[in-house]
């Protein structure tokens, strides 16, 4: 039995509810943060920045769910796209600092000065413009995903092979970004940002606006993703996931179908990364670490693969748990995280969403199409 039934396209109502909930929560927290500090409904900057971070992670989870849940590509390197989007935004934020760095140099970021760079490398060109940065945020991950996916899907790399080379991709990028010679600040990455579009990043209003923007963009991505998977194209996608060869024999081009969703997903991840950097205030090669990509897959698994809403829910809940337990049980939280992964895969194969549906409907109503056994090795 394939535990991941094609329920994704049928959960329109759920997706709309989730999108509205995300916007409402983000908006509510943003408003609450603008209340005076004494007010009982005041939300501290800490809570606002945490919420922003969770929502940015939710975008990453959403992008992972798109490819894993609907195209059957288990990516172990999606954090690379997230981080690239983050770096693109980080470059802009770095340039916004201007002459307020510790060396007071208006044209070069601090890390370049102490590494004795004389001028900006070519790929920093235009990074002072927000519009260019915004373009790069989706273009760079999209382009990388395009080249990588085109090569991989064309030659029918699939299953664990694909998983491992996505992991190799993010690992190689991590090592590359660690190098100081690359011009992205090495291990320290980009940090100590001051402004975005002239607004002070540390001001409560800027934070509130950023949170709302993140919420709205997440909701929009959620709806766009839902539109993609519910369309004719989406059906094709699921067909490719469940029986790639059969789809090919019917005259479709699975490689092109996969490539499209792969690139779209990378762009969503990049956008998430950009929003993440503005609210967390640092981007460094650690974001490329293979462990991060694996974790993002786990958020999706916890929430429920192939449901879109589940990805958002999983990302938020797991990260909330991580925040709480690293503070309460600093020495034991890793056990919790480990058991969460094991427990989810053993007892909640369809994640929280599966549990919810189970509670709402008697299980007999769930009809899942049987897929060929040979596909089981690949899904």
């Amino acid at each position: 039995m394939n535990p991941f039934s094609v329920h994704g396209p049928r959960n329109l109502r759920g997706v709309i509810w989730m999108a509205v909930a995300v916007v409402v929560v983000a908006g509510g927290l943003a408003m609450a943060s603008l209340l005076p500090e004494g007010s009982p409904f005041h939300a501290s900057a800490f809570v606002v920045s945490l919420a922003g971070k969770y929502l940015a992670y939710a975008m990453l989870a959403l992008s992972v769910d798109l490819v894993w849940g609907f195209a059957g590509i288990l990516t172990l390197g999606h954090a690379a796209f997230f981080a690239l989007g983050g770096y693109a935004m980080g470059m802009y934020l770095m340039r916004e600092i201007g002459a307020r760095g510790v060396y007071g140099n208006a044209s070069l970021p601090d890390f370049m000065i102490f590494l004795s760079w004389k001028s900006l490398p070519w790929y920093w060109w235009g990074s002072e413009h927000f519009a260019w940065a915004a373009l790069l945020v989706v273009a760079v991950p999209g382009l990388l995903a395009g080249v990588f996916g085109w090569l991989a899907f064309r030659s029918r790399v699939s299953g664990v092979y694909l998983s491992i080379i996505t992991q190799a991709l993010t690992y190689a990028l991590m090592l590359a970004f660690f190098q100081n010679g690359l011009g992205f600040g090495g291990n320290n990455g980009l940090t100590d940002f001051k402004d975005i579009l002239g607004a002070d990043l540390h001001a409560p209003l800027t934070r509130a606006v950023l949170l709302v923007v993140t919420g709205v963009l997440l909701a929009a991505s959620l709806l766009a993703a839902r539109f993609v998977v519910a369309s004719r194209f989406g059906h094709l996608l699921v067909a490719v996931r469940d029986a790639e060869n059969r789809t090919r024999f019917l005259g479709y081009r699975p490689d092109q179908v996969k490539l499209l969703v792969w690139v779209f997903s990378a762009m969503v991840a990049g956008l998430g990364g950009a929003l993440y950097v503005t609210q967390v205030g640092i981007i460094n090669p650690g974001e490329f670490a293979p462990a991060n990509s694996i974790e993002s897959v786990i958020w999706v698994a916890v929430g429920g693969r192939g449901t879109l809403c589940g990805a958002v829910l999983g990302a938020i809940l797991v990260n909330l748990g991580k925040t709480l337990f690293t503070a309460w049980l600093p020495e034991f939280w890793l056990y919790g995280l480990g058991f969460l992964f094991i427990g989810t895969t053993l007892f909640l194969p369809q994640g929280i969403m599966g549990l919810l549906r189970h509670v709402r409907k008697p299980p007999a109503e769930e009809v899942t199409p049987e897929v060929s056994d040979t596909q089981g090795g690949e899904a």
């Binding site: 920045s49 090592l175 809940l317 709480l324 309460w328 020495e331």
Partner: protein, 446 residues
Amino acid sequence: MPVNLPPLSRRAFGRLALAASAAAVGGMWRTAPARAAAPTGEPIRVGILHSLSGTMAISETTLKDVMLMLIAEQNRRGGVLGRPLEPVVVDPASNWPLFAEKARQLLSVDRAAAVFGCWTSVSRKSVLPVFEELNGILFYPVQYEGQECSRNIFYTGAAPNQQAIPAVDYLLSEDGGGAKRFALIGTDYVYPRTTNQILVNYLKAKGIADADIMVNYTPFGQSDWQTIVSQIKAFGSAGKKTAVVSTINGDANVPFYKELGNQGISATDIPVMAFSVGEEELAGMDTAPLVGQLAAWNYFESIDTPANTSFIKQWHDYTKNPKRTTNDPMEAHYIGFNMWVQAVTKAGTTDHDKVIDAMIGIRQPNLTGGVAEMLPDHHLTKPVYIGEIQEDGQFSVVWKTPSLVPGQAWSPWVPETRDLIGDWSKPIACGNYNTATKTCLGHRHA
């Protein structure tokens, strides 16, 4: 007497909270961790921001333990301002953005009066904006690359001029072997990069030619050193006395020294001067082939002073392990913590601004002799020791600076920062003051 069992009670609280539903984030944060019964008043919270899991746990866990010990000791002595101290331990899990998040939590949720934490430079860089925004106090206990001077950070570890420069002076001296050729080997991150940049300029000023300096960087966790060690060997065969200056990051040192030993390079052939190898790292190595290799620190466990002996005894009693070693960053926390206690006592409040101002000029005896003084640039005066590795995993001091060395935030050996100083005392009150143009470049306190 305040009862001091905060870690346990926090844990118990955590279990309770686990049972409770995970709703209402905002509200949850307000619930303070269970407080120890404190007859003497509202506890003062002290944040401990060290990784307990992930790659840095190997070094940082010890610092968490030493902070808990120091706080327990202070509480036994009656706390500070008659109030008990309460440690707040969090785990940033060697994840740099998580450091920023946890710093914000310690400052804005737990209202920590001071935070002791960070090890790597990137973790410090990650929390720096948070500490500046929320006007917190961070004590950073590790030797670092300098080129930074924040009003909200007290750098209790060594600046480059308190470790790297004296170490190279020693290698150049007759006793150090009179080295004429230097291989600067490091892990590729900002501390080795900056330190080596400073050292290259310094060595050139000392008349060492470009061709006699080799710089090499390796990735984190490098475990196969065969090629690099053989390169060092070849570099050392040019007919001049050669020395290695190692800024290799903690974890990669064990395989590096193993390879040195196996390829037969002994300290008398090519001495290796390390800046990141301390007692704790040696505890994981078989030191017999390393005897005579060097390290530069401001503290060694083997230094025989009454203060150090009693500190080591206290540490062994606290950890119930007579073999646990002490090291330089632990002493830095010891000095930093005691200075903070003094400053709070002097200011009569834990108010961050008042404590920051009170910190400058505070004096605290080092464990190894001499008195550390907090300078206006938030660095300390420190003695510098060169130690040789012994068979028993300890260092024996072979050289020390004749007097205490004041820390310099900005290196005079880097052209861009030649004229910069940090001075947080009035009237300058600036982290990057240019003494040539008499202007503050922007690191100013409002």
